[in-house]
């Protein structure tokens, strides 16, 4: 089934969220797609608790507070969020509209695309070891999609954060689990840490101090992980290796859409923030133009100007009358409709 909307926004970071508001003021409806499982982008994923001091009128606001406020501000316009998925392909339709397809097989038809993807989408950080690509999704899993394949297997989980500990606790019920971290301190919820330590005490799992130095394919569905702890090296044979080293950002499929790029940034004009492909816009940290500053407030400005141009694509026969939220009864009615 194809869902229809006026604009698809790629990226639910602060700039993508404010774009919903600016487009909404002009009666333009939006769907928003993000690879993370929650809105907020870097603000919510990288620094939810860190204060931001350069949002106009906010002396100090945390990444999570900013996200929550932007979500509330966008809410009257009833945006539809498609989370935990990435835009994989776009296609121009005969109607001159776009068909946007995601990694979860969702298809959305829209008149414009707004790329507000920041530094790209968050993906698991991969091990910097050469010649192990063929083992990915086989012996090396950066995410667990199907827990049942791990049943009864020998597993090495590496990392000291929530993902590593949650999976250690979960999988120790059904598999032979060893957790390895470079130190015996963990940056995870205290509850998960104490559960893990209990399991270790009761010999339901093993804990190892160390770091991965190399990986060898043993060609019998097993791999040998070479572990270093201080100056000592040790080999460790396992069925599965699950490394959890946080997330990194990469541009992903957007790089292949034929947009005019400068390194990993999308070139836009400074009047409409449109890309080299008409009706595709780029706002926020992902774009580049002379004098660009990577600030959230620049992205907000870009969203407002982008929306003016989107109006022409969405309502080619209508005249766009510029109105202030302070004086327009119509806008006020819309904003109080939650």
């Amino acid at each position: 089934m194809i869902e229809k909307t006026d604009v698809v926004i790629i990226g639910a970071g602060p700039v993508g969220l404010f774009a919903i508001f600016e487009l909404g003021l002009l009666n333009i409806s939006c769907h928003v797609i993000d690879n993370l499982n929650k809105p907020g982008g870097q603000c919510a994923e990288l620094y939810p608790e860190k204060p931001i001091y350069d949002i106009p009128s906010r002396v100090s606001i945390s990444g999570q507070e900013l996200t929550d406020e932007l979500l509330a501000q966008a809410k009257p316009f009833k945006p539809v969020y498609h989370l935990s998925q990435q835009v994989e392909k776009i296609e121009k339709l005969d109607s001159n509209e776009w068909l946007i397809m995601t990694s979860l097989n969702k298809s959305i038809q829209a008149k414009c695309i707004v790329i507000a993807a920041g530094a790209g989408s968050f993906v698991p950080r991969k091990l910097p070891i050469k010649n192990i690509d063929h083992l990915e999704e086989k012996n090396i899993l950066y995410a667990v999609r199907n827990k049942s394949i791990l049943e009864g297997k020998k597993i090495l989980i590496v990392g000291g954060g929530d993902s590593a500990l949650d999976w250690t606790n979960e999988l120790s019920k059904i598999s032979n689990v060893t957790l390895m971290h470079r130190r015996k301190e963990f940056k995870a919820s205290p509850d998960s840490v104490s559960r893990m330590l209990d399991l270790e005490k009761n010999k339901k799992l093993n804990f190892l101090l160390g770091q991965i130095q190399g990986i060898e394919d043993l060609k019998n569905d097993k791999i040998k992980v070479i572990i270093q702890n201080n100056d000592e090296m040790e080999d460790f044979e396992v069925d599965y290796l699950l490394p959890f080293f946080g997330l990194k950002m990469e541009l992903g499929p957007i790089a292949n859409w034929g947009l005019n790029l400068d390194e990993n940034l999308i070139k836009v004009d400074t009047e409409k923030f449109e890309t080299s492909i008409p009706s595709i816009f780029a706002i926020g940290d992902i774009n580049i133009y002379p004098g660009k500053l990577k600030l959230i407030l620049s992205g907000f400005h870009e969203a407002a100007l982008m929306a003016q141009e989107c109006f022409k694509y969405c309502f080619p026969d209508k005249k766009n009358i510029f109105r202030y939220t302070t004086s327009s009864k119509e806008l006020q009615k819309k904003l109080s409709s939650t």
């Binding site: 620094y47 910097p128 990392g159 000291g160 940056k187 080293f245 946080g246 990194k248 990577k294």
Partner: protein, 102 residues
């Protein structure tokens, strides 16, 4: 003041530094390939460097936040630091460091 940086190919470069910057900013603004994805707020581990042993005791000690972020880095050593957390001062004139592998 100056700092001596060894990049991932083993090339050594002398960089002009000033005390208003962090080590990461000096390296990044020189155009040396350091990702520093989060921009310097200690929220990623992509500005990971190894500080030369003889300088290790002269820089501000590592705090819990930085130690936790290093959990997301690879090849962490005793002299590992996140360069965005190192504020330069005149006493660090001549500081030697090496970029950690990506």
């Amino acid at each position: 003041m100056k700092i001596l940086v060894t990049d991932r190919d083993g090339n050594k470069q002398i960089l002009e530094a000033d005390t208003s910057s962090t080590l990461m900013e000096i390296i990044r603004d020189e155009g040396i390939d350091i990702e520093a994805a989060c921009g310097g707020c200690c929220a990623c581990a992509t500005c990971h460097v190894y500080i030369d042993d003889k300088w290790l005791n002269r820089i501000d000690p590592i705090d819990d936040d930085e130690e936790s972020m290093l959990d997301q880095a690879f090849d962490v050593k005793k002299n590992s630091r996140l360069s965005c957390q190192i504020h330069l001062n005149e006493e660090l004139d001549g500081l030697e460091l090496e970029l950690a592998p990506e």
